[in-house]
Structure formats: structure tokens, C-alpha cells
């Protein structure tokens, strides 16, 4: 707390930023990263060796050519870091982009990995017993309160979202809610807990996201990266 109070309360003067300043790329931890790295490598992103070391506690990484800095954050936070301009571009799921719906975020490239679906699900017994046309109100457990609220608003139902960060499948079984909205890839977790998908809200895949101001003020470099990454995705798709 003391540190925060002592920190300058105003941003530093940055009138003219030289083009030599490094671009910052935000990458998510976990599953998506493994699938995305080959694409980024093909596009010329070469992180320092520490990046692959699972024991490294570092959050910021240099790259071998020095033009780029990489930060590693939670998948859900990539969109926020990029939207606020902390990072110039990054990789995150389209579910995260939809949930935050930041105006300052562009999603110009579909990386075509990390495919899954965002879906409404419920225990099988509920689905058989319920008549949703009679509902004016519904409690839903989800990691995605904004998407969920919009989805049900469009259907004339007030959704009261219970925000959970994991084990969402448990919520209806333990009486927290009648529906969940969550990512579904194979459906195995749902099935193991006696849940079925009722409706798919959106197809999800990993996207390249770009900060709006960065794309404009560093247009040359940024278009270079989006084109190279787009090309790498295409080459990968063409490969047998």
C-alpha cells in the first residue's frame, strides 16, 4: 500500500516515443500457449530460453532479436492488458474477447487453434423438467457474466449470474443454479457430471488481439506482425 501511495499518480510525459521502443506481446499461460507457440515461431517470435523453463518465475521475457518483449499473464487477462495498452498485442480466446468487449481491441487474425464452444448446459433431469418459456428470472453459474446476461436478455429472461472461477459443473448439482454457461471442448467433463449441452452460444478459437492505438501509431511494425502471423496460420493450414 505504501508503495502505491508513493508511486507517481500521473503518467510520465511521453510526447514523442521513438520507434526503437520495444513492442510488448502478451501471451496466456497454459493450454493455448502450447498450440500457439509454433505459429508465433514461424512468424519470427523467438523468446529467450527462460520462456520454456516451467520453473521460471519471470513474467517478462526478452526475445532473441530484441525487437519484442513478451509478458506472460492469465488467459483472461490478456484482453485487458492489450486493451489498456500495457501490451501492444497478444493472444487470447475469442470467449475472453466477447466477455470483455473492449472497444480498443482489434482481433484481426484467427489463429485456428484452441477450438471449443461456449455453451449453456444443465443437469439432464432439469432439462426434462423445466419449461423455460415460463421463466422471467434465472440463476446461472459462469465465468462469463457479461455474455450470459446478454444471451438471456435477448431471450427476455433476467439472468442472475453467480461468478465462479472453476468447477462450474458442480454448481447446479449442489443447488446454486439451474444453468451454467461454460467452455465445452469434448463434453467429457459435462458427461461425467451428468450435464448436457442445451445450446451453443459461440464457437471459440484463439485470436491475435491488437491494441487500437498501437496499430495506428506503430502502423508499419504492427501490420508486419499481423501479416506474418496471418501467413503462418495459413501455411500451417495448407500443410498436410
Amino acid at each position: 500500500m505504501a508503495d502505491r501511495l508513493a508511486a507517481p499518480t500521473r503518467p510520465i510525459k511521453r510526447i514523442s516515443v521513438s520507434d526503437k521502443e520495444k513492442l510488448v506481446l502478451a501471451l496466456p499461460k497454459g493450454r493455448i500457449l502450447k498450440e500457439v507457440m509454433p505459429i508465433l515461431a514461424a512468424a519470427g517470435v523467438m523468446p529467450e530460453d527462460d520462456f520454456d523453463d516451467p520453473d521460471s518465475r519471470k513474467l517478462r521475457f526478452a526475445t532473441k532479436d530484441g525487437a519484442l518483449e513478451i509478458v506472460r499473464v492469465r488467459s483472461f487477462d490478456v484482453a485487458t492488458f492489450v486493451a489498456f495498452g500495457g501490451a501492444d498485442f497478444g493472444v487470447c480466446g475469442s470467449d475472453v474477447i466477447m466477455e470483455f468487449d473492449y472497444a480498443e481491441l482489434y482481433a484481426p487474425v484467427d489463429l485456428a487453434v484452441g477450438h471449443c464452444k461456449l455453451a449453456v448446459a444443465a443437469p439432464k433431469d432439469f432439462v426434462e423438467a423445466d419449461d423455460p418459456t415460463r421463466w422471467s428470472h434465472l440463476r446461472v453459474a459462469t465465468k462469463y457474466p457479461n455474455i450470459t446476461e446478454k444471451y438471456y436478455t435477448a431471450r427476455g429472461i433476467q439472468a442472475e449470474c453467480v461468478k465462479l472461477n472453476g468447477a462450474i459443473e458442480l454448481a447446479p448439482l449442489l443447488g446454486l443454479c439451474r444453468r451454467i454457461v461454460d467452455l465445452v471442448s469434448t463434453g467429457a467433463t459435462l458427461a461425467a457430471n451428468g450435464l448436457v449441452v442445451i445450446e451453443e452460444i459461440a464457437d471459440v478459437s484463439a485470436r491475435l488481439v491488437v491494441n487500437r492505438a498501437s496499430l495506428k501509431t506503430r502502423a508499419g511494425e504492427m501490420s508486419g506482425w499481423t501479416e506474418r502471423i496471418g501467413q503462418a496460420v495459413q501455411d500451417r493450414g495448407d500443410a498436410p
Partner: protein
């Protein structure tokens, strides 16, 4: 500790602006409107609030969600507090200044209020300053407004901006051919605003190829224009691109070093615009410094204009350090001395009660000098 009892708490998005920022902001608005003035733009000052019908009718459909409304206790009519001053200036041009010769050049500066901030711009009240050029519908007017933006920002010390050229009419001419219901068009606009290739491919049907190409064409103005030249487009879209090209060349002729980019699909915030529009960015600064473009007033007149957002400007530049020359005037000093010093550019702080140690007291109050009666001049405090 009851949070509700805390008098310091302000509603979300509203702030007290303290020293030195308050004076800084006022000076910025002053310098900007003066810069507009030197180009012949006369300052007007509309009221904070006016009848809802005038404010929202003129501001286009996008305005509706953004204004605070209150009932006028005297007339019983609904009033709205301005969320943007442009529609007010357009109203002044169309009504009270309808007989003033065109081209009409007006400028303004003041506070606006919106119902909700965004995640990235939580402020609900902020200052804006701007200029409107009403009457002509030609390239020279488009260029004048852009140069005015560059000059005015330069006056407040902001260099190295990037101007992103847009044309909301361009995408309109491509998708108007599209046989889609309204709901789908707004979804498509949202996908375009996020440069979401997947969304565009899913929503645009036959136009998906062209729109996806337009998204990819975004970039530095010369490259973007070259790309746009290589694709078959409807005549209306071609005309828009030619106009953008002419405007870019005109601006370049004045300011060869200005960074210009072109984004053919940007639409957000341009619901009101009909032709060449623009957004101003600065590297390393979150959000837009300003924006503007061509529109048609409620009276059907052609106009173009620009708005500078002072909240973003204040993120971009910090105020210069407090007045460097502040002198402490001991009690009983000749009033003439103070008057003379202030004329010479000093800030004077008067001693209100006798101090045991005037120098320490002067320092505590932030003075750099103390007036020594014996030496008849300010002495720097060690």
C-alpha cells in the same frame, strides 16, 4: 467506518481536479480555442443543457444512450445535459447564425457529461474543445480541419501524432448492396469495428471477401491506398477512396512529416459522420486525443469539424512545474511592491499573521523567495 458517511466519495466517473491540473486544463482549453481563433474560428458558448429534442435530434441516434435527462421544472419539458458540444454548435449555425455568411467557422470549449464511462475511459465528465467549419463540401475544407487539428495540438506542445483517416460512407456503400436485415448489419458493423475476420466471414455473405480485404488494407496511408487501388469496388466507394487520397495528399503538402494511416472499416463513433473523418492518436497514450469529420447538420448543411478530448490530452502531457517565482511578502509591505512584482511576473503570497521565522513559513507555503524590505528586492530562500 461507514462508506456512505465519507464525504470525499464522488459518484463513479466524476473527479475533483486539483492544482496544478485544474489550471493546466483551463490553460489547455484556452490555448486550443485561441489556436482555432487564429485560423478564423470564432468562439461560441452554448448552455450546459437544453431541450432533449434539440440535443438528441441533432446528435444522431448514437447520442440517445449518452445523455443525462432532467425535467425542466418551469416548462415541464424534458431537458438533456450535453454529452458532446458538436450538435449544439451545429444547432447554433442552423438557427441563430443562419444568416451569417458561409463558410462559417466556429469554435468551442467546455465540459460535457455522459451517462456512463467505458472501461477504458471511466470519466463521465470531461472537457472538450473543438472547431466546426460549416457550409462547404469540398476537399479544401477537409484539409483545413485536419491542419487545424495538427496546429492546435502543436500549440499545446503535442508533436508526433498519428492521424488515422476514415470514411464511414465507404463500408456503407459496400454493405448497402447486402441483402441483410438491420440486426445483422449492426452485428456486422461491430465485427468490422473489432477487425474480426471470423465474424465478418460469418455475417457478410457475398461481401465477406471485399470486407476482409478492406480490413487487411488498414495501415500507413500510402500502402493502404495502394492496396485499395487493386480491388474492384462499387463506384461510391471508389469516389470515397479518391477523396481520401486527395485529402491525404493535401495534408502531406502542408505537413510532410505527419504520420498518416488509413482505416477503411472504422465506424464506431462515426454514426453521425457522412464523409472523410479522422481519429487522432499519440504513441504510448491510451485512447484517442481527438476525432472529427464530415457530417450534415439537422438543417441539411454540409459541415466538417474536430473535437479534442482534454482527458486524453491530460494523460499525454503533465503540467509544467508550479510557478517558479513565488515570493513571500511580509506583513506591512508597501502594497505597491506587491503590485509591481505581480506585473513583473511574480506570484505573491502575503503574510497574514506575524511569523517568528518568516523564511521557514515562506518555504512551508511553497515560496521560492522572500521579500527583504531592507534590500528592497526578493531574496531566494536557501
Amino acid at each position: 467506518m461507514e462508506d456512505r458517511e465519507n464525504q470525499a466519495l464522488l459518484p463513479a466517473g466524476l473527479h475533483d481536479v486539483l492544482a496544478p491540473d485544474a489550471a493546466h486544463e483551463a490553460a489547455l482549453v484556452g490555448t486550443l480555442t485561441q489556436a482555432f481563433g487564429t485560423h478564423g474560428y470564432e468562439r461560441v458558448s452554448p448552455p450546459m443543457l437544453e431541450y432533449e429534442t434539440a440535443l438528441i435530434g441533432a446528435g444522431g441516434p448514437g447520442m440517445d444512450d449518452h445523455v443525462f435527462r432532467v425535467i425542466d421544472p418551469t416548462s415541464g419539458r424534458m431537458m438533456a445535459i450535453r454529452a458532446d458540444m458538436t450538435p449544439q454548435v451545429a444547432r447554433i449555425a442552423a438557427t441563430r447564425l443562419s444568416r451569417q455568411p458561409r463558410p462559417l467557422r466556429l469554435s468551442y470549449g467546455g465540459q460535457v457529461l455522459t451517462v456512463r464511462g467505458s472501461q477504458l475511459r471511466p470519466e463521465r465528465q470531461f472537457a472538450q474543445a473543438g472547431a466546426e467549419l460549416i457550409g462547404p463540401d469540398n476537399i479544401a475544407a477537409d484539409i483545413e480541419i485536419l491542419i487545424l487539428a495538427v496546429d492546435a495540438l502543436s500549440e499545446i506542445g503535442i508533436e508526433g501524432i498519428t492521424i488515422d483517416l476514415n470514411s464511414p460512407a465507404l463500408v456503407g456503400s459496400v454493405i448497402s448492396a447486402l441483402d441483410a436485415e438491420n440486426g445483422k448489419i449492426s452485428q456486422l458493423r461491430a465485427a468490422l469495428d473489432h477487425k474480426d475476420q471470423v465474424g465478418v466471414a460469418a455475417l457478410a455473405g457475398e461481401s465477406a471477401g471485399i470486407l476482409s480485404y478492406l480490413i487487411a488494407a488498414t495501415g500507413p496511408v500510402d500502402e493502404a491506398l495502394a492496396k485499395l487501388g487493386r480491388i474492384a469496388l462499387p463506384d461510391a466507394a471508389k469516389a470515397e477512396i479518391e477523396r481520401l487520397r486527395a485529402v491525404a495528399e493535401g495534408v502531406r503538402a502542408h505537413r510532410p512529416d505527419l504520420a498518416l494511416t488509413l482505416d477503411p472499416v472504422e465506424y464506431r463513433g462515426f454514426e453521425y459522420q457522412t464523409g472523410v473523418s479522422f481519429t487522432i492518436f499519440l504513441a504510448g497514450v491510451r485512447g484517442e486525443l481527438g476525432r472529427g469529420g464530415r457530417y450534415v447538420t439537422a438543417a441539411g448543411e454540409h459541415a466538417t469539424g474536430l473535437t479534442i478530448f482534454l482527458d486524453t490530452i491530460r494523460r499525454a502531457i503533465t503540467p509544467s512545474p508550479a510557478q517558479a517565482k513565488t515570493v513571500y511578502l511580509p506583513q506591512g509591505s508597501d502594497p505597491l511592491i506587491g503590485a509591481t512584482l505581480r506585473k513583473e511576473g511574480w506570484t505573491t503570497i502575503a503574510e497574514l499573521a506575524p511569523d517568528e521565522d518568516p523564511a521557514t513559513e515562506a518555504k512551508r507555503l511553497g515560496c521560492t523567495h522572500i521579500f527583504e524590505t531592507s534590500e528592497k528586492q526578493p531574496i531566494e530562500i536557501g
